[in-house]
Symmetry: C2
């Protein structure tokens, strides 16, 4: 039975994988993915065949996975975080098109909005937007428009891909846009290396966030107007206390 | 050692829990929560002490959990989906205030945005907003503003709490607002009873969504301008194919 399973492995540590993801990796023949993600699971599932491709070769990676599954193997494509949210599931469906072979199953995983929020406290108790600052596949003007809209509507905001080597100033530019709508002292949080060696978290104001050191392993949280610091945690109340 | 663990159990089935959540429920003394969520885990962890409260008594439930943890028990407060996203973690931190006792740990779980998206295909590959249509704790005007902003910025949208007995027409009202910005044929998806008996999914247009039958067990997905149907799945491309 040919099958391709797109597996969200969560932030990276075994404990934050779902039981279903663990079972899928146990039962497959081949594990394929970006080498950093494959390395996160290589030791635990060491009896598997492994295949890796560099970061920007997503189409090639997905086509390889589809081809191997068509040959009768059970192939697990691993994605960091969720398999769908900024993950590979959509590209797999696009490349397979209207064919029914191979069978595709999408197994969700903890995205950084969930796992990072838990580290910071509870910043996402109310409505929020998830926005990537990478303009590799999106024009910057569209990202700007989304930041403006989210801030004007008092949504909490989670920023994925806040910086990389090629775009070290994207977070600073995003903060400039947000500061047109939000006060300098709006509570923000940065988490880095969630569930991996070096995991850390920082609370700061939006004004401080503008010049904060971030990299591609960071996820950034911007509170809404009710968000505040309680016992060193970033907390957005939903309003239950008044009910 | 007194400890309160706020556990996101995911959509409801054992397989979609994280390994960490499972271990927390195995190792605790008491499991407390809204009775529907407690019933989802009662059989598997049957040696535990169980405590339930009705749906609207969130403050009482959280205070009970804090009090029991202070008495030296390890207490697990279970939340459906994630422990933070529309969950109880914030209220726990609010009620504990600046005290350091009891120790609080937040264990994230799969929120319906992740688990529902995986059932529909891959609708959240790009930026999105998560908005609750419940006006029990939020004024309706704020919800309207958020819907407008998200639609105008071409964010995919996930709607939580699309309807209940007391507000059967909220989804229809939300669709009226979205239809000012989005076309009638915009692809949408509805999932119901994710990971539970009766799990089902439907794809439809935004025009059809306006009169769709939904209840409090549904989560609704509204695509962005690139979202399309591929082999009966709802797919939002990120753009990788062009790279």
């Amino acid at each position: 039975m040919s099958k391709l399973i797109v597996v969200g492995i969560g932030p990276g540590n075994y404990e934050n994988m779902t039981i279903k993801a663990d079972r899928a990796l146990q039962s497959c023949d081949v594990i394929i993915g970006y080498h950093v993600y494959v390395d996160l699971v290589r030791e635990r599932y060491s009896d598997k065949e492994f295949l890796t491709t560099p970061m920007t070769q997503e189409t090639r990676r997905c086509q390889m996975a589809l081809d191997m599954a068509k040959q009768g193997k059970t192939v697990a494509m691993v994605c960091s975080g969720d398999s769908g949210i900024y993950g590979m599931a959509a590209l797999i469906y696009e490349l397979r098109g209207e064919c029914s072979e191979p069978e595709v199953e999408v197994i969700p995983g903890l995205t950084a909005a969930c796992s990072g929020a838990a580290l910071l406290g509870a910043p996402l108790t109310h409505d929020f937007a998830v926005i990537s600052l990478s303009d590799r596949l999106t024009v910057w003007e569209k990202i700007e428009k989304r930041l403006e809209s989210a801030a004007a509507a008092d949504l909490s905001i989670v920023l994925y891909n806040p910086a990389s080597h090629g775009r070290p100033d994207h977070l600073s530019r995003a903060c400039d846009i947000l500061l047109r709508y939000l006060p300098e002292d709006r509570l923000c949080g940065v988490v880095q290396h969630i569930g991996r060696d070096g995991e850390n978290r920082r609370l700061m104001s939006l004004g401080e966030l503008k010049s904060a050191a971030v990299d591609m392993f960071c996820t950034v949280f911007i509170g809404n107007e009710m968000t505040r610091e309680i016992a060193q945690n970033m907390v957005t109340p939903r309003g239950y206390r008044d009910v």
